[in-house]
């Protein structure tokens, strides 16, 4: 427990996402709490005045005028309570949503600042999506925990002060009972919740993985003939998970019952107190019912404290992951940036690169010089650093050794001009849930429809567009799932072609296409991108005739390098592969 508290304190101290907003908007928050207090006050006052009204009326005063004030007050508080409640809810939601909206753009720009970090840590976009959930949790953190608990405590202190003035001995008793409801039971609920939360999380994660496996390996399960086994194993986990969730709820339910019982004890104390102190005269006895009736609305404010506390672990883990993110995305030290955007030569000098703590370097003292306008094809077995080469070239990864320079300017000085210099089609381009037109236009937002259509044509998509009733305005669905893999790939290609940067980087642009489509696509690219410098990663050799140079990467070095013709004539291995690819073996 102590460990957890110190961990939580540390978390709050380093926090970027939560406390600063509480501090910044102090005035508005104060107003919000005031409105919330007014809501509870009106609820209590309504019962108080109406209790008094009835007690007083039952004394049969000689005319209505005697109870005129309580009558008016009863109506006023009756109207006041819903009105304040309405504004309280409106205000608190508005405030929280404003903050979450701010946080959302903040989260985006934090993620945006560090691209290489992203690709290393979050290979699947799914993981990134989780941050959106964390933000939602933060929203509830304010609405369901911070506000209710603050109001409950505020009210508690006010009441304690009032009671202490009226009768301090009695006040101590009630304060003790209320502290059980507001402090002790929430603490117990919290420590139970920590425990269960861990269990639930690890089990959910496992179940989630199992389900993902079932989905991705569905064909295998389908033909395996033991589907029932699968359902049984997953079923056991599901049952465990549902039990844990249920027992979580049950704990909260128990705690709620306990706090209600302690609240009842407090009400009982109040009843005794009023029977002792308010029954001296008829005048004071008129207030006996009022005091008791006014006490009950407090239950709606005090009892939720238990639930608010039990939800804390969830919020803290969300806060924790958001804070970890901000620590990791601190801005790297700035390097003086160069404005150059015209190059004659790109140089790799003795570049070495090793991924993480792996043994074998992906690039091992690799050197290469490329002239402007040259078209380079990069071949080689998978996992041998082809993609790494491109990532080093654009500065997403930093070489362990050696230097990559553009006319003597090192690559890290060109990061600001990255957009103007490179058009990069990576291996898993993301297709946004929008129209084909919008997806392609992302490449160049100034492009008009005609230019977009031209780019789509170059990517070989004209036939598809003509078939679609909505043409380029067709919606492509989530991650483009309404299109086939090959079509998605070509839309991403069109986007890159529209970008019109001097250096074109293509990482397997024709993945999933048949050789004939692939061939005609590459021919179109060569025809239309004549003056561009191009790096083309591929594992097919057919269609390579048009490039100026082929680099065959293997074991961190260029195992073969040269023009297609010379390689074909001098390297038997290349000739064999080439013939193989054309189906001549």
């Amino acid at each position: 427990m102590r460990q957890r508290i110190s961990k939580t304190m540390r978390l709050l101290k380093q926090d970027h996402w939560f406390i600063q907003y509480l501090k910044k908007d102090r005035l508005r928050l104060g107003l919000l709490l005031l409105i919330a207090l007014m809501t509870v006050f009106c609820a209590m006052a309504l019962m108080f005045t109406s209790g008094f009204l009835i007690s007083k009326s039952a004394r049969h005063p000689y005319n209505l005028f005697v109870v005129y004030v309580p009558v008016v007050l009863t109506r006023a508080f009756g109207i006041g309570r819903p009105v304040f409640k309405y504004f309280e809810r409106l205000e608190s939601h508005d405030w929280v949503l404003r903050i979450v909206s701010k946080l959302r753009s903040d989260l985006y720009s934090r993620l945006e600042r560090q691209g290489s970090f992203l690709s290393r840590h979050f290979q699947t976009g799914r993981l990134l999506g989780l941050f959106a959930d964390d933000l939602d949790h933060l929203e509830n953190f304010y609405l369901r925990t911070i506000f209710p608990i603050s109001i409950a405590y505020l009210l508690f202190f006010l009441l304690a002060a009032v009671m202490a003035v009226v009768d301090w001995r009695w006040a101590i008793l009630v304060v003790c009972l209320m502290l059980i409801v507001l402090l002790l039971l929430p603490m117990v609920a919290l420590s139970l919740a920590w425990e269960k939360d861990q269990q639930e999380k690890s089990l959910t994660k496992k179940q989630y993985q199992d389900s993902a496996e079932a989905l991705f390996g569905l064909t295998d399960w389908q033909i395996s003939g033991h589907r029932a086994d699968f359902l049984q194993t997953v079923g056991r986990g599901n049952q465990q998970l549902s039990r844990i969730k249920n027992s979580n709820d049950q704990h909260q339910n128990n705690m709620k019952l306990l706090s209600e019982l302690f609240f009842a004890l407090a009400a009982l104390t109040l009843l005794f107190w009023s029977s002792q102190h308010l029954t001296n005269s008829q005048n004071t006895a008129n207030f006996a019912a009022s005091v008791i009736l006014a006490f009950f609305p407090l239950m709606d404010t005090f009892v939720p404290a238990v639930k608010a506390a039990a939800d804390l672990p969830l919020y803290f883990s969300s806060l924790n992951s958001l804070n970890q993110l901000s620590r990791q995305t601190m801005r790297p030290a700035a390097v003086t940036q160069s404005n150059k955007s015209h190059f004659d030569k790109i140089c790799f000098q003795n570049v070495s690169f090793t991924y993480g703590d792996e043994k074998n370097p992906l690039l091992d003292h690799f050197s290469l010089t490329i002239n402007r306008g040259e078209k380079i094809a990069i071949l080689g077995p998978s996992g041998e650093g082809k993609t790494t080469l491109l990532q080093l070239l654009i500065g997403d990864l930093q070489a362990d050794q050696g230097e990559i320079s553009f006319d003597e300017v090192p690559v890290d000085q060109l990061q600001q001009k990255r957009a103007a210099n490179f058009a990069y089609l990576n291996q898993a381009p993301f297709i946004f849930n929008s129209t084909i037109l919008n997806n392609v236009r992302l490449g160049n937002e100034q492009a008009d429809d005609q230019q977009v259509i031209k780019a789509l044509d170059q990517a070989g998509l004209t036939d598809l567009i003509q078939q679609l009733p909505a043409g380029i305005e067709t919606q492509v669905g989530e991650s483009g799932h309404l299109l086939s893999g090959g079509q998605r790939q070509r839309i991403a290609l069109a986007r890159i072609l529209l970008k019109d940067a001097p250096i074109l980087l293509l990482d397997e642009p024709t993945l999933g296409l048949d050789p004939i489509t692939e061939h005609s696509l590459m021919q179109t690219i060569f025809r239309n991108q004549k003056d561009k410098t191009m790096f083309w990663i591929t594992h097919h050799l057919a269609g390579l005739e048009k490039v100026d140079r082929i680099i065959f990467l293997e074991k961190g070095k260029a195992a073969m390098s040269g023009s297609p013709r010379s390689l074909y004539e001098t390297e038997p291995r290349f000739k064999k592969l080439y013939d193989l690819d054309l189906g001549r073996i």
Binding site: S50, G78, L97, S211, D220, P381, E445, S479, H540
Partner: protein
């Protein structure tokens, strides 16, 4: 008021009965609590603190506790029901997904299905927990209280009774308007929320395109838009609960004043007036809670509808067939086989093909020609929707091949095979979990995995799959191959472009491994790589969903047709070769 889909949950009726009983007991406790509190307060008002006062106070306390206790019981019962229902639904989803087969993943997307089986099921759980309690409370407690109030003072009872239709009327008017607006905007703001998710998931691509900074403006706008839309939905919800709140509180205030006047005019003693006042808030409470939770649970309600739609999807028919092990003499013929996907025209039409014994068949064609669809039909993953049986297996006419006894003879190798998060050994033993280590090693060796395994420190025990050691595409294909080899009954191998993601050398090596293994097996291979064709016995050429040519390679390659076109257009690009030949 209560969703029709709820009735399909097992145990719902029993649960509703229990919940109603608890609600009734709760209502009785509320009445008892009010009655004894009234007694205690009236005694105090009369300045009589005697044994009757102590008695009343004690019973007030007991009834107050009983009320909370019954509430506890009700919550307890409902939350365990909701947890069970969630478990039941989760099981239903899992079973449904396995039953529908790969087609459902293509149709709905894996991300969507995962969300459905976790986040959405959890939303339903919370929805069930609250809505059933609210519903049963609303159906019982107000009426019990109303009877009590009538008994105490019929005029007050009348006021409460008359306020009820008025409140319900306002609730319906406002609620309907609110519901309409909320329902309409629900879709809208789900889309906006997805916009943000989209931006975050596609961030890397945005960065590559160098529009990520500009896009942050768009994220900001969308985020603000989202906030405004959410706020406007909430505003409607708040307004409608404000209206409800306003009328109920006002009713209590009016009642207090009316009672006061009646008391002054000596038409009423204090006790019934106080009792009515004490019990009135509880009369309106269930109604208010129901109104408030309706909006809060919109998510859960929509989730239930979404899930029901999935579960009600028509299941593919499983076919019962006479067990017939594929042998050298077996024969499968397809006649006039057609298949059409629901949403697009991409399909196969009028396929006629006969497959004999242990032969090697290649299906070639450009992307989108229908090769994968044909393979999926042969594997039974897709079922043709035709009146006449399109398949004939050794004299048995069959509507589809979605049958256990057929699928148990299959091995299916996709472009990107999926490895389960387990050891390599477990992955190989997937079809036959009881296989001995020796047999697994032998299968791995046959599949050409030995050199690879020898280089791994943990050999067969190396963990693979997501979040474990990455494995190259070629090795993954070999693991799938070993899986098929381990089960000698799997003599029909379907391969869907197994080498599309491999570099040419790995592709060649894989081909060298596969071919000798197919001697006593039927191999059906979809490919657009022509170098596979020389070793095949029969070539089926597809174009735009139809079989345009079939026969032996030697016959096809020399006659004009699609295959010759394909091979020619590849050959012309081989100008390196041509130049070298000259």
């Amino acid at each position: 008021m209560i969703d029709e889909h709820l009735w399909k949950l097992p145990g719902i009726k029993r649960c509703l009965i229990y919940s109603t009983v608890y609600a009734l007991l709760k209502g009785l406790a509320i009445v008892g609590q009010a009655a004894f509190l009234t007694q205690a307060l009236t005694a105090a008002w009369r300045l009589q603190i005697n044994s009757a006062w102590y008695f009343a106070t004690l019973f007030f306390f007991i009834f107050f506790c009983l009320r909370q206790f019954f509430d506890w019981l009700q919550t307890r019962q409902l939350s365990s029901f909701a947890a069970k229902a969630a478990y039941y639904l989760k099981q239903q989803i899992d079973a449904k997904i396995l039953l529908q087969g790969p087609a459902i993943v293509d149709h709905l997307g894996s991300g969507n299905l995962l969300t459905l089986s976790y986040e959405r099921v959890d939303q339903i759980r919370i929805y069930l927990e609250t809505i059933l309690a609210r519903f049963t409370d609303l159906m019982t407690i107000p009426w019990l209280i109303l009877i009590y109030v009538f008994w105490q003072n019929w005029q007050s009872g009348l006021i409460l009774f008359c306020s009820l239709p008025l409140i319900v009327f306002f609730m319906i008017i406002l609620g309907l308007a609110a519901q309409k607006k909320a329902d309409a905007q629900y879709a809208d703001f789900a889309a906006l929320n997805n916009h943000f998710l989209d931006a975050v998931r596609g961030l890397e691509t945005l960065k590559m395109l160098a529009v990520s900074q500009k896009y942050s403006q768009s994220v900001k706008t969308a985020s603000e838009d989202y906030r405004k839309k959410t706020m406007s939905v909430l505003q409607v919800a708040f307004t409608s609960s404000f209206a409800l709140d306003f009328f109920t509180t006002l009713s209590i205030a009016i009642e207090a004043v009316m009672l006061g006047i009646a008391l002054i005019n000596r038409q009423l003693p204090l006790a019934p007036a106080l009792a009515v006042l004490i019990v009135s808030p509880d009369f309106f409470l269930p109604l208010r809670q129901f109104g408030e939770d309706y909006h809060a649970n919109l998510d859960g309600k929509n989730a239930l509808h979404e899930l029901s739609a999935l579960l009600e999807m028509q299941a593919p028919k499983r076919i019962v067939m006479r067990p017939a092990d594929w042998s050298q003499e077996s024969q499968l013929s397809l006649s006039h086989l057609s298949y059409r996907y629901a949403e697009n025209a991409d399909a196969v039409q009028d396929l006629n093909l006969t497959i004999h014994g242990f032969s090697k068949i290649a299906i070639v064609g450009m992307s989108g020609a229908g090769k994968s669809t044909l393979l999926n039909l042969l594997a039974g993953f897709l079922q043709p929707d035709q009146p006449n049986p399109a398949f004939n297996l050794d004299g048995q006419s069959l509507m589809s091949l979605n049958a256990d006894s057929w699928q148990k003879q299959l091995s299916y190798m996709p472009q990107n095979p999926y490895l389960f998060s387990a050891s390599i050994e477990k992955n190989i033993a997937f079809y036959d979990p009881q296989a001995s280590r020796q047999r697994i090693l032998a299968a791995a060796d046959q599949a050409g995995l030995s050199p690879f395994l020898e280089n791994l420190p943990n050999g067969l025990d190396t963990q693979v799959g997501e979040s474990h050691r990455g494995i190259s595409g070629g090795q993954a294909q070999r693991i799938v191959l070993a899986r098929a080899l381990l089960d000698p009954k799997r003599r029909i191998w379907l391969m869907d472009e197994p080498s599309a993601h491999l570099d040419i050398e790995s592709e060649y090596a894989l081909k060298q491994t596969i071919l000798p293994l197919t001697d006593h097996r039927l191999l059906i291979l979809a490919t657009h790589r022509l170098h596979w064709l020389k070793q095949m016995d029969w070539i089926v050429v597809m174009k735009a969903g139809r079989i345009v040519q079939q026969g032996r390679l030697d016959d096809l390659i020399n006659q004009p047709g699609e295959l010759k076109n394909m091979s020619d257009s590849l050959a012309t690009e081989g100008d390196l070769h041509a130049a070298a030949d000259i």
